[in-house]
Point group: C2
Amino acid sequence: MNREIHLVKRPEGTPGHEHLAVVENPLPEPQAGEVLLKTLYVSVDPYMRGRMSDGKSYVAPFELNEPLDGGVIAEVTESQDDHFNVGDIVTGVLPWQEYSTAKAESLRKIDPSLGPVTTSLGILGMPGLTAYFGLTDIGKPKAGETLVVSGAAGAVGSTVVQIGKILGLRVVGIAGTDEKTSYVTEKLGADKAINYKTEDVRKAVKTACPDGVDLYFDNVGGSIADAVYPRLNKFARIIQCGAISSYNLTEDKGPRIQTYLIKSSALIQGFIVADYQERFKEGFQHLSKWLKEGQLTYEETITEGFDNIPDAFFGLFKGENIGKQLVKVAEPGPQ
Amino acid sequence: MNREIHLVKRPEGTPGHEHLAVVENPLPEPQAGEVLLKTLYVSVDPYMRGRMSDGKSYVAPFELNEPLDGGVIAEVTESQDDHFNVGDIVTGVLPWQEYSTAKAESLRKIDPSLGPVTTSLGILGMPGLTAYFGLTDIGKPKAGETLVVSGAAGAVGSTVVQIGKILGLRVVGIAGTDEKTSYVTEKLGADKAINYKTEDVRKAVKTACPDGVDLYFDNVGGSIADAVYPRLNKFARIIQCGAISSYNLTEDKGPRIQTYLIKSSALIQGFIVADYQERFKEGFQHLSKWLKEGQLTYEETITEGFDNIPDAFFGLFKGENIGKQLVKVAEPGPQ
């Protein structure tokens, strides 16, 4: 039998075990043009919270009583398609299942000689591309400008901090533990880091950004964003990547921001990485070059076991992870 | 003696007569390169509220115990500069005084044969340029898209509605009286108008914009903006021109908007018209061409008398004006 994690109830506020269920079903069989896949790693990401709700969005909501899905690394265990052989390691958007079938064209083969396969869900995957396109295309940074990054120790934020330094920016990272702020300055190279749980963020941003804020890469929204808006410089750009502090709130009010935007002729641009689909190749090229040159580093937080996928996901909202949060489901090879 | 209106106290919330005072001073005398001016019309504008406060902004705050200033139309009554003759009608940023002196290079001569001189403070002045650059440069509208305009019967909004129709958009205007909504649809040509004081704006926007909102030209912020965000289409553009509903509030909270921006990959760009200073000529050319062709119309609300400048200004926040709010201070010619 195959195990699957289904969405059985839509959360109103914080998601918990009551919204998910492990369901057993017979092992699927691949049709012509398909492969059978053994799940090795599952990516859990904050944006998935939005898909649990049934509102208007450009990413379709998860279906009730169906498996959730997301970025997965898997091994081909049976192939009905010429492009894939048993043993190939692939990545794609796949259901939260121990085994699944998928059309060959929906998968991308990973070359394990390029580095650890898990990078395809992290720095050489959606989080890395999100960091790259958000900062460079929306942010249009100029050397010497000041960049503030929230969620700076996370999968996206940690990459943004480093690309910011590569591009010659003064970088200030915001994170929620001293372990994370040390990581942000010492490993990622940020000029300053702010612990939003122990510091007065508004004062700390003012002190850390004596020349104001030109770029704000926002992964969190909420009261941290509130603390940055008053420091925006003329023609500031806010890259609105995420708003994790809002995702579990049924009511979420804060100071209105329109007046700040007018005063500083500032821009906010929301985006999802799929907006840049046609330019992914360019993104991969830059990221893998920087990674090879040692200009980029990354961390992973890897939880073990299929049954722990829900807790790893819930942990994102408690700020438990440093770098990319993954769940290891199985070892490659015959078991 | 000359009368001047001074800022004597900075308002915390709504400005009132206690914050302003009429002060008498001797008539100023023009130096070489200057002219003496008799004020004919004074422009009162919502942005002036921001200048009454002492916060960080890219428009300098008004000085305490000094005259306020803003857009003025005046007549040259004495000239110490070769470029101006007595009787010339000019416009510039000038103090709220019955008479003032100004350097010749800070003034622009108005050609009264082009139309009523008051248009230089309205549709052929800052409000017209604000509408033009905000809608065309930030909005980048495409024919067939849906544009929502708040403050649609005001000086800027009424011009935005009309330029929107010239550019082939479906236009929905929001205003605060039935007289204004009739003006917006019947005179300005909007497809629909919403009275935000008598209608449920969120439902009304949904009904009036069956295909969602591609462009939102926001003059007001607050709960009207709240009602528009949920209707944003993918890649929507919000032109953040004003937020008049916020200007007099010491605390102003509302639903956070970051999640809406992410869901629809939407942009908000704040601006002030001075950002486009180098392109003013282009703006004037388009506006005057459309005005001559009869594609643009405008209204003015003209209050009479120097002493009534404060009340005309306060009235902006009560939604009293249709079109451009001016104060007529004097007739041209010898008195």
